[in-house]
Symmetry: C2
Subunit: 393 residues, 2 copies
């Protein structure tokens, strides 16, 4: 995989347990347009606060990221540490400190081990270009069980380009490990306003449409760097190339988002929840999220129990408009509920067969309007409880 | 325990497994003032819809309740069944059908077994006065492991009176069993407007301040009947007697609410979450509820892990205003966080000792205003998952 004009580096800085990559660099040889979305948590980690400032100018040269420590709830010292990290790396690269973003993921409330980072950063800079984006994917893992990487190619104005991305851990599924991180790089040239609009919209239907446990972390960051090194004519809003780019970008983000859900702690099921016929798109999202976050629904998935009543109850308390005698519910293509009532017959047996699958869909049709949303989630298993209860003991 | 002018009855109607009481009656010999709060779920069970109408006139004679079947998501037939149940009982009692309320709790989506109810109702009516309020508490249990009953006495205008209540299962903690039900009776005479105001306010700091799993059921009902049979001068708003009555009522409801949390499925801990210093009371409640509903916080409680970072993160995403460098956090009286930062020293060890207790408190002080709220919750254990995954298999 070649994303023109991007170089990568990943080293061991001993922030995590020895023997694992935990410090990585994404570097663009030329200034890259940046677009980003950050956590909505009012408690934000230092790197999130710093990046929120630095992305404002719209152009950066790269990103340094560590795993094993979230640099969250670390106060003024945390901000100093984030600034120093970018200063050391940018000096080595010969770029301005404000041109470099920084991310952290791991334990909350513990200061970054700066001595270790200071001693590892020279190696990180030296090795630029010797690592792959796959190494970056490995370096940002915490309790993830596999690296998350996705790449797709496109053509704009006859010139081929690549969109590739890496991600880690969904929501706050990690025990005291904050964070979903996703870093996307593309060598396509994209108009800055279009890049931000597209990224926000696509993040909404991918990363913002997954939930493992409903806990929003302090460090969530998703960003894209577009350096134009492919040499394509700049992709502009309203063009056919823009439509194609959105589709490719959406494919990369959605695949990374789904990988995160499949790697949810203790997850044994991958479930797509679609609510359609809602009074509005916002209502559809609210209802789908309520179903996806319900502990009772998720334990029923784990137990392979076609318990549609729990799903109905969650839709009911979601805040979305519901007229219960209009609603329908399906497990894959098995209709469980029509006009608000159980369909009876062999629906129970056939629904149970669907829930025995590793992946299946739940569809609720409210028959009130045209609002539709899909959310991806996992089940709630005994292992989830064990992993999160035992983490620090 | 004698609550003047009230008679009780409880029989076996075979809605639940044989050998267990499952049909009960609360009957007032004279018309009783009624105040009630119902589920906010948009999907409401038939008995909730019927009672919402019937409490509007402000006076009723009693309540018939079955367990084992929620009569929820049962459409027009469910409403016919609820109406018929009250008609049969009220005919037996010689009162008007519209003077009788009805409640149901149990499985969602299955019609009431009306043949069994029709054959049991004559016995229910015959036995009025032969059962106790404790028998009613037993008859409304589903997966509850103990009956929930509380009684307190007061004096108004020199005349003694009693406030007593029964309750069952919190939120939708029951597998496919909808419902929290709470029925309070008092022989005190209380001004109707005051009764409704007090009941709503007190329900807010008791039943509406507990959560087991964040799932709001389709059948939640809490109501009070006040028949005035004690013979006290009517308690009016603004009087000292009103203050005393509120305190007694609050004590009964809070104790019932706490019993529900202690009997939460799989619960091994009883935790009081207080958020104070919030910008508003609503902010305090939002933040406390977010903490109490966080799967990560609840698994940490189960694991006896003094994981304050998860609590901080939950407060951060709750929607409440937070300035992280002002916040403090305590486990009982052990201060874990000051000015948004970990206090260090032996706080970790001392905090862990607190979490080993069966009951403890978490206090978050946001230092932004005077908003305060307390919420009661349980932990999230492996048993919770097992009970809810295995229920129908």
């Amino acid at each position: 995989m070649n994303i023109k004009g991007f170089k990568f580096s990943a080293v061991e800085a001993a922030v995590k347990k020895p023997g694992r990559l935990d410090l990585a660099l994404i570097f663009s040889e030329v200034p890259a347009r940046v677009a980003a979305v950050f956590t909505t948590n009012a408690v934000k980690a230092a790197p999130v606060l710093l990046d929120e400032e630095r992305v404002k100018c719209g152009v950066v040269r790269g990103l340094v990221v560590n795993s094993g420590n979230a640099n969250a709830c670390t106060g003024a010292r945390g901000m100093d540490d984030a600034v120093e990290t970018t200063a050391l790396v940018s000096q080595g690269l010969g770029i301005g400190s404000e041109e470099l973003l920084v991310s952290s993921t791991g334990v909350i409330g513990v200061p970054l081990p700066m001595e270790r980072l200071r001693s590892a950063i020279p190696r990180l800079v030296e090795r630029v270009g010797e690592s792959s984006l796959g190494d970056v994917a490995a370096a940002i893992m915490t309790t993830d069980t596999f690296p998350k990487l996705e790449s797709r190619g496109g053509v704009a104005g006859g010139v081929p380009y690549t969109v590739a991305g890496v991600a880690k851990g969904a929501g706050m599924i990690m025990p005291n490990m904050a964070t979903m991180l996703a870093f996307i790089v593309t060598d396509a040239a994209v108009e800055p306003g279009l890049l931000q609009d597209l990224f926000r919209r696509v993040a909404d239907t991918s990363f913002n449409s997954i939930t493992i446990d409903g806990d929003t972390s302090t460090n969530d960051t998703a960003l894209i760097l577009a350096n134009g090194a492919a040499g394509n004519p700049v992709i502009t809003a309203g063009s056919e190339d823009a439509v194609a780019f959105e589709s490719i970008l959406s494919g990369v983000l959605l695949e990374l988002a789904k990988q995160i859900v499949r790697d949810g702690e203790g997850a044994t099921k991958f479930v797509s929840i679609t609510v359609k016929g809602a009074a509005s798109g916002a209502d559809a999202k609210k209802a789908a999220m309520a179903v996806a976050n319900s502990s009772l629904v998720k334990t029923a998935f784990f137990g392979q129990d076609a318990n549609w009543g729990r799903i109905f109850a969650a839709v009911g308390y979601s805040g979305a408009r519901v007229e219960q005698l209009k609603a329908e519910l399906f497990f894959d293509d098995v209709q469980m509920v029509k006009d608000g009532l159980f369909t009876g017959g062999d629906a129970e047996a056939r629904g149970t067969e669907v829930l025995k699958k590793k992946e299946f869909s739940v569809t609720v049709d409210l028959h009130l309007g045209s609002g539709v949303a899909t959310v991806y989630t996992s089940d709630l298993s005994c292992d989830y409880v064990k992993i999160n209860a035992d983490y620090r003991t």
